[in-house]
Amino acid sequence: MNEAWRFFLIFFGAAIVSNILLIRFIGLCPFFGVSSSLETSIGMSLSVIFVMTMASSVSWIAWNLVLEPLGVGEFLYIPAFILIIASLVQFVEMVIKKTSPPLYRAMGIYLPLITTNCAVFAAATESVKPGFFTKLNIAYQYGFLEAVVYSVGIAVGFSLVLIFFAAIRERLEDAPIPRFFRGVPIAFITAALFSLAFMGFAGMFNL
């Protein structure tokens, strides 16, 4: 298997085949929270792509250079990764606040909550422990580049679904649906149909 093809498989597997939102149910709070308008969901996607890639790279370095050589990885990875993510989020928040106040207001509570976005945490954990959340038995460790590609894949999969979903939800606003299905319920039914579609990719390949 040549190098480029393997990277493609890792990317595609992370983004589509085991999509973090629809197949693995991780990171759903921001998904339903910010997906009601296209603009905020694009902002959210960009910051998630950035935070997730950075967090996974830094976590990978922290795991392989600090935690693992010291033999404390198993006990300390949760607080260590959370701290890494929290500081990155703080940074992104400052940048957005300075560069785009409307976007900052629109994303409101969800920006600090990227810290507690389990998707970011899961991506960071999986880049050092492949298959931890997917429950796949992956025997080898990702190298640095692979870990980065993997986390970008997860982030792109997240953004893709988030943006598609936001576009659909904007249209649903005007759709004639029963009153008690308005808002949350119809969003979830849409997600169910999405998930059904993504199940078509299941088992295409595992890596």
Binding site: I78, A86, L113, P185, F188
Partner: protein, 210 residues
């Protein structure tokens, strides 16, 4: 509104009016993933009730000492300690841990618990914080149980609790889609539609069509 709060009212609020899953829409990940079996949900519910109540109490006790700038990391450390307790305790039950294991560390990053710490426990007295945590935890567990009963019963045709079959519908082929990924979204959609229908009805009875 602030003056007239009672312990019972706070408890009920968490279960119904601001149910974390159906109304506030926080902490959705684990319920959707693990509600394929009732058994999982009992343990997950207990774990969450424990973590949220304890962390609410501790944070409420410390609310006057926590500097505002570093409050989020402190909350997370408090929550993470209780999650670690749960994690180590559940390890004594290998069969359950096998299925729930990956979701326990994710309780740390469950926005529901952090949101309660930030939005409630840091501003209220200890007893209210404790009751609020309990209420939110119970609300979470209830939704979890309802979802898992629906999904396990109709998705597999029977409910198995601790290796004994409690209910058996004796169907030849169950709609397995319910215990697969889309089923989670679908069940949740129907539950929240039900809640919305109930609220609309109640509003209409109280007069004043909105």
């Amino acid at each position: 509104m602030e003056e007239r709060k009672t312990l019972w009212g706070e408890l009920k609020k968490g279960i119904l009016d601001s149910n974390p899953l159906l109304v506030l829409m926080v902490g959705l990940c684990s319920p959707l993933a693990i509600s394929t079996r009732v058994e999982n949900c009992i343990f997950m519910g207990l774990a969450v009730i424990f973590v949220i109540t304890c962390s609410n109490v501790i944070i409420s006790l410390l609310r006057k000492f926590i500097p505002d700038q570093v409050r989020i990391p402190i909350y997370i450390v408090v929550i993470a300690s209780f999650v670690t307790i749960v994690d180590l305790t559940l390890k004594t039950l290998p069969a359950i841990y096998e299925r729930l294991g990956v979701w326990i560390p994710l309780i740390v990053v469950n926005c529901m618990i952090l949101a309660r710490a930030e939005g409630y426990a840091s501003r209220n007295e200890v007893k209210y914080a404790a009751v609020d945590g309990l209420g939110i935890g119970l609300g979470y567990t209830m939704v979890l149980l309802v979802m898992s009963v629906i999904r396990e019963l109709f998705g597999t045709g029977k409910i198995v609790l601790f290796d004994t079959t409690v209910i058996d519908l004796k169907v030849r082929s169950a709609p397995i889609i319910l215990i697969m990924f889309p089923g989670a979204f679908l069940t949740f959609a129907l539950l929240s539609a039900l809640l919305q229908w109930y609220q609309l009805r109640r509003k209409r009875f109280k007069g004043g069509e909105s």
